[in-house]
Amino acid sequence: MQKSLSIDPGKCTGCLQCELACSYDNEGVFNPSKSRIKVFNFHDEGRFVPYTCTQCDEAWCMHACPVDAISVDMATGAKIVSDELCVGCKVCTIACPFGTVNYNQSTGKVIKCDLCGGEPECATACPTDAITYIDADWTGLDKMRSWAAKTDAGVQAEA
């Protein structure tokens, strides 16, 4: 079963534990500025929204890369950047419609979410289950369940 990251902004408190976990796993240091996942604070609305790569099937970044540095991890479906091949041309950062591939000036390569090889640290670290790693075919299951629970079986009978 392939899994996807599923993000529920309604549960996010903006604590950045996901960014801490991501940066440590990838950089060996707690450093939110190098995190592949970012939490956005829409202050005036009182909303926090975590955002990262959704691992498009026909990934713009992968198709745009002129040196084939981005490939598919067959186990997870993640699009992975090879540091050996990446030349830091940044074309992928332009190609990505969502902005989730970014250049890292301290290495001269691009960085993006690689699903940590199938155990995403951000989901493990999230204290409120705003980020979960679930069945890729059923990311809508919880939402469907909550709407289903609100469906009143009696309405039609009474009408």
């Binding site: 408190t13 903006g14 604590c15 950045l16 534990q17 801490l20 976990a21 940066s23 440590y24 950089e27 060996g28 240091v29 707690f30 450093n31 939110p32 500025s33 190098k34 202050h43 005036d44 609305e45 009182g46 909303r47 926090f48 301290s106 670290a125 204290p127 409120t128």
Partner: protein
């Protein structure tokens, strides 16, 4: 590891910034943040210095855990000689600024001297420069934070700044970061204003490391599990915020009301967490929009609120019809019960203004309460207040004074003196509900006796965050003690004071201590830092820090006589509730406290004590 091992020293008089190594010998004795910065301050300034003179210094400081993934580890403190108190000041703030400072590579920023014109400090890792702040002087915290981000084209900069109140010398001005998190008490923002320093803006990308990663992850994960499973940190605080306390403390009979005339507030429920969750008539939405966490915090006690759009305070002012920092318990108490106002929207608006213009809602609300007492007793009149009818319960008077104090104008400038100077000015010093110049927070020491000793002996003036014996006396943490008796409180207060100094020196939020003991903290510090950080060693650090602060205050001119409470709490018995008929028995607790501290009868640390603590 854990420490960045580097200080930034900023000479505002000369306009120079330079890096220097952190004194690691001191770090091993004082850990970090509150403890270590106090050591630097004690070594570097004359304790008798005028807090507002250029010879006072101001230190922004992180702890060794700040910036790691330990829960709540994003704190920083501001250590200086307090403008409100003339005592040692250490004000702790959450938000995201502390982490950014650590990521830029600094354990501390030491500000000395005074800039000859308004400036702000901009830091990008190793690059630090003082920049002309004339375009931001006269602006609010909110406009300054937005303005600096926009001027430098970098939305990821974190800013800590003062508002107009801090520029104008309001004695209880704060330093506010991330729009609504504050180093709130003792007038640390007033000191910053006196130095012509408007803001500190930081972008840090270096990262923070720990000594032993696998041990640290094990210890910090265990700590997070304890927090999640605890009734206070896992349920009460996330669900209701600190406001979970409003009805609890009112029922305990310890909610100071109308300048401590009463001990229970009939309007408490209207300004409680329960009221914040209640849908309102105008738009069907509650005051509370969402909960919010500071950096790395797995508790998330922060509240984000809106004022009812039809409320008189915001109906014509769309700029305040936004979601922003909502009421915490202390602010709701000071702006509400202390003034007798039970209008939730008026309080939420007043809280917005406190954040926007950077002043402490506790000292402000309590001082308004004192002014209302002066007014009702006839010591001040409409002539002094500029026509504001300063009666208890008048919401409009409260919100008008909030805006005036934020701008340091009119009678707001007099409120900005704080209750001690205000009441002295009008010949009624006993109406000021304060210790060492700092106003009481939200617990009446007649109904919670241990808090009387806590306030009287707190090194930064009256404060609940130096030994929160409410945890034991009301909530039963770590074990239940009777709030109405004085027996055993001396030892309890000392134990809380010493442990608290450890949390404040580590980079952690004190709220974790509802669930954690130092046995939960020690493994996290020990794994992150070099050196041996057992519970025993940490407790000794806490006691050392407490005594160091005490020595500073004694050298500044305070004596045992200042470990006192206003007559109202010592002579006027509580009129109702469980504590009816009781006064605070400070005289029974204080001598025993000096004894358990190893201090003389006059409250001076004995030579033996100083030697034992290597001071």
């Amino acid at each position: 590891m854990a420490w960045a091992r580097q200080i930034l020293r900023v000479d505002l008089s000369k306009g120079e910034c330079r890096q220097e190594p952190l004194n690691m010998e001191w770090a091993m004795k004082y850990l970090g943040q509150r403890g270590l910065a106090t050591k630097y301050l004690v070594e570097e300034i004359d304790p008798k210095v005028d807090p507002l003179s250029p010879k006072n210094k101001m230190i922004m400081t992180t702890g060794p855990l700040t910036g790691t993934c330990a829960s709540t580890a994003g704190r920083y403190s501001v250590v200086t000689k307090g403008a409100l108190t003339g005592a040692i000041a250490c004000s702790n703030s959450g938000g995201f600024f502390g982490n950014e400072m650590k990521n830029a590579g600094y354990d501390m920023i030491i500000f000395e001297g005074k800039a000859n014109k308004p400036v702000y400090l901009l830091i990008e890792n190793d690059k630090a420069e003082l920049i002309d702040a004339s375009e931001f002087w006269g602006k609010s915290v909110w406009d300054t934070e937005e303005g600096i981000k926009s001027k430098h084209g970098d939305p990821l900069i974190r800013v800590a700044s003062i508002g107009v109140s801090g520029e104008k010398g309001v004695k209880f001005a704060c330093i506010v970061n991330d729009m609504h998190r504050a180093a709130g008490r003792s007038g640390v923002g007033t000191v910053m204003g006196s130095k012509n320093l408007k803001a500190v803006a930081i972008r840090g990308t270096k990262g923070v490391n720990v000594e032993n990663y696998s041990k640290f992850m094990e210890a910090s994960n265990a700590g997070k599990e304890v927090l999640a499973g605890n009734a206070v940190t896992g349920e009460g605080l996330p669900a209701m915020g600190t406001q979970v306390l409003m009805n609890v403390i009112n029922e305990t009979g310890a909610l100071p009301t109308r300048n401590h005339r009463d001990i229970q507030f009939e309007g408490a429920n209207n300004i409680s967490a329960e009221a914040m969750a209640e849908p309102r008539e105008s738009d069907g939405k509650p005051n509370l929009v969402t909960k919010a966490a500071c950096f790395g915090c797995t508790i998330a006690c922060g509240r984000i609120s809106t004022v009812d759009r039809t409320h008189y305070t915001v109906v014509d002012r769309p700029e305040y019809q936004i979601a922003s920092g909502g009421l915490e318990y202390e602010a709701a108490w000071a702006l509400g019960a202390a003034t007798g106002v039970d209008d939730l929207d008026a309080l939420t608006f007043a809280n917005f203004i406190c954040n926007e213009q950077g002043f402490d809602p506790i000292s402000f609300g309590a001082t308004v309460g004192a002014a209302m007492d002066l007014y009702e007793e006839g010591h001040i009149t409409d002539k002094e207040t500029g026509g504001i009818e300063l009666k208890f319960g008048n919401a409009k008077a409260l919100t008008d004074l909030t805006e005036l104090t934020g701008r340091g104008e009119g009678f707001g400038a007099e409120i900005g003196l704080g209750s001690k100077l205000l009441c002295e000015k009008y010949g009624q010093p006993e109406l000021a509900m304060q210790v060492k110049g700092q106003e009481f927070p939200a617990y009446d020491s007649r109904g919670i006796q241990g808090m009387g000793l806590t306030y009287a002996t707190s090194n930064r003036g009256a404060c609940h965050l130096r030994s929160y014996t409410v945890a034991s006396e009301v909530l039963g943490i770590p074990e239940k003690t009777d709030p109405l008796v004085t027996d055993g409180k001396a030892g309890l207060v000392k134990a809380f004071q010493d442990a608290t100094a450890v949390y404040d020196s580590a980079g952690l939020c004190l709220f974790t201590s509802f669930a954690w003991s130092l046995d939960d903290v020690a493994p996290q510090i020990d794994a992150a830092c070099e050196g041996d950080w057992s519970t025993e060693n940490l407790l000794e650090v806490g006691e050392r820090v407490w005594n160091l602060e005490r020595q500073f205050n004694l050298a500044a001119g305070f004596t045992g006589k200042d470990d006192n409470l206003p007559k109202r709490l010592l002579k006027d018995a509580a009129k109702a509730g469980p504590a009816e008929g009781l006064t605070c028995g400070l005289d029974k607790m204080l001598p025993e406290y000096y004894e358990v501290r190893g201090w003389t009868e006059g409250g001076v640390p004995s030579n033996n004590t100083l030697e034992r603590l290597a001071l």
